[in-house]
Symmetry: C2
């Protein structure tokens, strides 16, 4: 979804507001569990995600370990977002690619810093930034906002109040943008 | 999926072997729960299923109650299948429409009989047929076969050993049929 949504939105004169949040924080409230741990469904899901990436023409490997903690990456995004939204977007995409293409462990702060530097962000200052109370509170508030909005999964897209969960809803998202709702 | 899969297969010179089974029997083993009962996700799912039907151009109402027990309908299918496969297929589609379009309670044997009669099957004999030990064993074996195959949900399609879960995988199914695998 991260690789597709900006270009899709732009074709219909729309912009995407990215909101990283922690799926784990939401799962604590909803009782959700990582898909990959479920009997039978987990095995299917791993196969399906790889096939879906091929279907969409996107490079993809299943990271190991998967899933991982993403609070450093999410906080770094919000830190960058406040000063340079375009840079934050490039960073977010680079983090997704580091994880889902290069198989890097993005739970590591060092990896997050290296990814930030690769897109031209000052990696060094991120170390302090992601442990600042204000940015921790910011991410916590984003998680609470997601929960309050009824958001239980990822990727999740809201257009004009209409909710779409999963990259497999891209065709419905496009129809929605085309028609203004269907 | 029931409304689309036969025509899609036929376009690629393939035939569909339908295998009704009981999702409840599978959930007992996998720990799965009906989607509609999950916090937040259940509410989304009900909205999504209605929107997905509109997207596919199919009439649909959320049945009430939903989900319901389907063993009468599934056994009736296998009973008809043994003597007239084309009739069994018409019956299956009619049961789906009775449930998902007309909102009838297909857990009722009387409803199953009426649906059978509406497609030209002898409703009266179904009453005895669905309580025969052989047909009960047949459905049980189908549920066990589904579990053994790793099938955890519905709709579920297997093509050349490749598994697809959910009506939202129709585009991938079509690509698979077009290309012989991707």
């Amino acid at each position: 979804m991260a690789e597709k949504i900006d270009a899709l939105a732009a074709r219909y004169g729309r912009e995407v507001a990215w909101h990283p949040y922690l799926l784990g924080a939401v799962y604590k409230v909803t009782g959700g569990v990582p898909l990959t741990g479920l009997p039978m469904k987990g095995e299917y899901a791993l196969h399906d995600i790889v096939r879906s990436a091929r279907y969409l023409g996107l490079p993809f490997v299943v990271p190991e370990p998967f899933p991982v903690a993403t609070q450093h990456a999410a906080r770094a995004f919000y830190h960058l977002q406040d000063t340079d939204p375009a840079l934050a977007r490039r960073f977010a995409l680079a983090v997704f690619r580091a994880f889902f293409v290069d198989g890097l462990d993005i739970s590591s702060l060092d990896t997050v810093k290296q990814v930030a530097e690769s897109v031209g962000a000052p990696g060094d200052e991120l170390g302090a930034a992601v442990s600042a109370d204000a940015i921790k509170a910011r991410l916590k508030a984003e998680c609470e906002a997601a929960l309050a909005r009824g958001i239980f999964g990822s990727p999740y897209v809201v257009i004009d109040g209409e909710c779409f969960w999963g990259v497999d809803r891209l065709p419905q998202i496009e129809r929605w943008l085309e028609t203004g709702g269907f």
